[in-house]
């Protein structure tokens, strides 16, 4: 076991990508993720990898499209406005069924917004973001250690399902320093994907990477094929194949009110649960670690036992819709949010809990 080291979240994304066998990174500077390209511009040449600062986020994601089609483990990263620019490429990558990892260190929006941490890209991340019927897996760590573990998991999931995987990190986690135990490096062979362009280890014939199906029946068939793949992803998560990545629950067994939050908010909510319980309020926490597929079943099961839910986000309320879908009207679902780059304090969330539990 390696010793723990003190590292910044963004730099850990870079190092964990290298440990996962990623040797190609294409990106464009934007705050608050700029430490990722800065780190990889030093690190990738040490392992004979390629770091390339692209002329735009659009170019960067299309370089990822090219590199992924040629069989590489490849990553790009950006922050909210830059991730909007990557949506064109993400749609192509999903449509062509190529694996890659895309990091969004989320900042306040819409538009240029600001560079402070936010969670207002949830819809863009979990609903596709680009055009067409497609899905991307979305992982949402809440610590620097989890950033390391989930970055590696993202590459493995991307290859497993031949699909883009998003790492949704808010600006706090990207900028925060914490002790981290870096995982052991994975070996990756450029020629292990028989479908990759230029791969000599193919199964005969030529390899083609394309997303055009002019024949409507062919495109419909392709879309249902993608849909069935997304069903497999959802089923495998629902059956617990990725339990360590899917969801964390805390003090839910006797909870009368269940707080729901992801990313950095979940750490604040843990404090809220402790403080609420000291006040005699039976509060619990559900933390989705994977945002798509969403851990709906866990929330559905708890809906039978608890009295109400409070979803807390650094947005005007996005994930709350998924919680409502999971709870499906069985119990009330309330929302509390701060947005624009502000972070709610445990105190103000506790006040909300108080108001809900003791309405008068």
């Amino acid at each position: 076991m390696a010793d723990k080291v003190l590292m910044k979240g963004n730099e850990v994304i870079g190092e964990a990508a290298v440990l996962a066998g990623c040797r190609y990174y294409f990106g464009y500077p934007i705050t608050p993720q700029s430490e990722i390209p800065a780190y990889l511009s030093r690190r990738l040449p040490e392992v004979e990898g390629v770091f390339l600062q692209a002329e735009s986020e659009v170019a960067a994601i299309n370089m990822v499209y090219g590199a992924a089609s040629a069989g590489a483990r490849v990553m790009t990263s950006s922050s909210s406005p830059g991730v909007s620019l990557k949506q064109e490429g993400l749609s192509y990558i999903a449509g062509a069924e190529l694996p890659c990892v895309v990091v969004n260190v989320v900042r306040g929006g819409p538009g240029l917004g600001n560079i402070s941490p936010a969670q207002s890209d949830y819809w863009q991340a979990t609903r596709g973001g680009g055009h067409g019927d497609y899905r991307t897996l979305v992982l949402a760590p809440n610590s620097v250690q989890e950033i390391a573990d989930m970055t590696i998991a993202a590459f493995e999931l991307a290859d497993r399902f031949r699909n883009p995987v998003l790492l949704l990190v808010d600006g706090i986690l990207g900028q925060m320093m914490e002790p981290v135990q870096l995982p052991a490096p994975l070996s990756y062979d450029l020629n292990q994907k028989p479908w990759a362009l230029g791969n000599p280890n193919r199964k005969g014939g030529r390899n083609l990477c394309s997303t055009i199906f002019l024949d409507v029946e062919q495109l419909e068939e392709h879309n249902w094929h993608l849909y069935q793949k997304y069903q497999v992803v959802t089923d495998e998560f629902a059956k617990g194949a990725y339990q360590h990545l899917a969801v964390e629950t805390h003090a839910v067994d006797d909870a009368e009110i269940i707080l729901v939050g992801y990313g950095i908010i979940s750490r604040i909510l843990k404090t809220v649960v402790e403080k609420a319980r000291k006040r005699g309020i039976k509060a619990g926490l559900v933390r989705p670690k994977t945002l798509w597929p969403f851990p709906s079943q866990v929330l559905a099961d708890l809906a039978a036992r608890t009295k109400q839910f409070l979803v807390v986000e650094m947005s005007c309320g996005q994930m709350v819709e998924d919680v409502k879908l999971a709870v499906n009207g069985r119990k009330p679902v309330f929302f509390f949010g701060r947005t624009g780059g502000t972070v709610p304090s445990d105190f103000e969330i506790l006040n909300e809990v108080d108001k809900l539990v003791r309405p008068d």
């Binding site: 002329e55 170019a59 090219g66 089609s69 040629a70 490429g89 230029g198 083609l208 055009i212």
Partner: protein
């Protein structure tokens, strides 16, 4: 007495019939690419990148691996492929809307980085697949679906000259403009393509071959009239010739 075969389909091309309009130059340029790669024995070590436009299905006509890129992004996609597979010839095949409008940033920066790829640029002064709209290369006064009164330079600028622009950059090793409008020009075009692929094989740097082509369908002309129009109207604006040849391959 046995007959000697003097003309055949290039080995790296499929038997799929071209979907292009009658008289279109795409088929001719495709064939020149196929012949060049065969003669350089690179047909099984090549990866093509198809654009968005009439040649979106270019991959149907070649036997080697292909990626079909988003509109304008082929040089970025080719960059990603070439960085992963440096032992392969990687080329893009792009039209004027693709390369000189929506993909301007991608082509200029791929050229400026000196990506070791070959870009084949089909300039026919019009958008083909979408139905004959004004392109960045449309001539002043030329009527198209979106310039019904003729291109007005005051409103839409003048035709953009990509070969001349790219030749101002340090990194490209070979930038040339050819046409396939006459047998002599066709032979020069093939030589240019072979030069470009050979330079890439030798790892010399970025190579760019612009081919001034006709679009009879969207120009509303017969193929013969279109070739006449190309010679009279297009070539004065887009003069044929080599704009950058760092290693002197045109002379060799």
């Amino acid at each position: 007495m046995t007959m000697e075969q003097v003309f055949a389909r290039p080995k790296c091309m499929t038997k799929t019939p071209f979907h292009y309009c009658p008289g279109c130059d795409h088929g001719v340029v495709h064939r020149l690419i196929g012949e060049s790669l065969d003669e350089l024995e690179l047909g099984d070590k090549t990866i093509g990148v198809a654009p968005v436009g009439c040649s979106v299905f270019a991959f149907d006509y070649f036997t080697f691996d292909f990626n079909q890129a988003a509109h304008g992004r082929a040089p970025a996609v080719a960059t990603g492929i070439k960085r992963v597979r440096p032992d392969h010839i990687v080329f893009t095949y792009q039209g004027d809307g693709d390369l000189a409008a929506i993909g301007t940033a991608e082509i200029i920066h791929a050229a400026n980085r000196g990506e070791k790829i070959t870009v084949i640029f089909i300039n026919n002064a019009i958008y083909g697949m979408t139905g004959g709209q004004m392109a960045p290369t449309t001539l002043v006064g030329m009527k198209t679906a979106t310039s019904p009164y003729g291109r007005d330079a005051q409103l839409c600028g003048n035709p953009i000259k990509m070969a001349e622009m790219l030749a101002t950059l340090e990194a490209p090793v070979y930038v040339t403009r050819v046409s396939v409008n006459t047998p002599a020009n066709l032979m020069k075009a093939k030589k240019a393509l072979k030069n470009a692929f050979r330079l890439q094989k030798e790892g010399k740097g970025f190579t760019f071959v612009e081919v001034v082509c006709i679009c009879p369908t969207n120009w509303g002309k017969t193929p013969n009239d279109a070739h006449k129009w190309l010679a009279e109207k297009m070539l004065p604006v887009f003069p044929l010739g080599t704009y950058k040849d760092v290693l002197g391959v045109d002379k060799g």
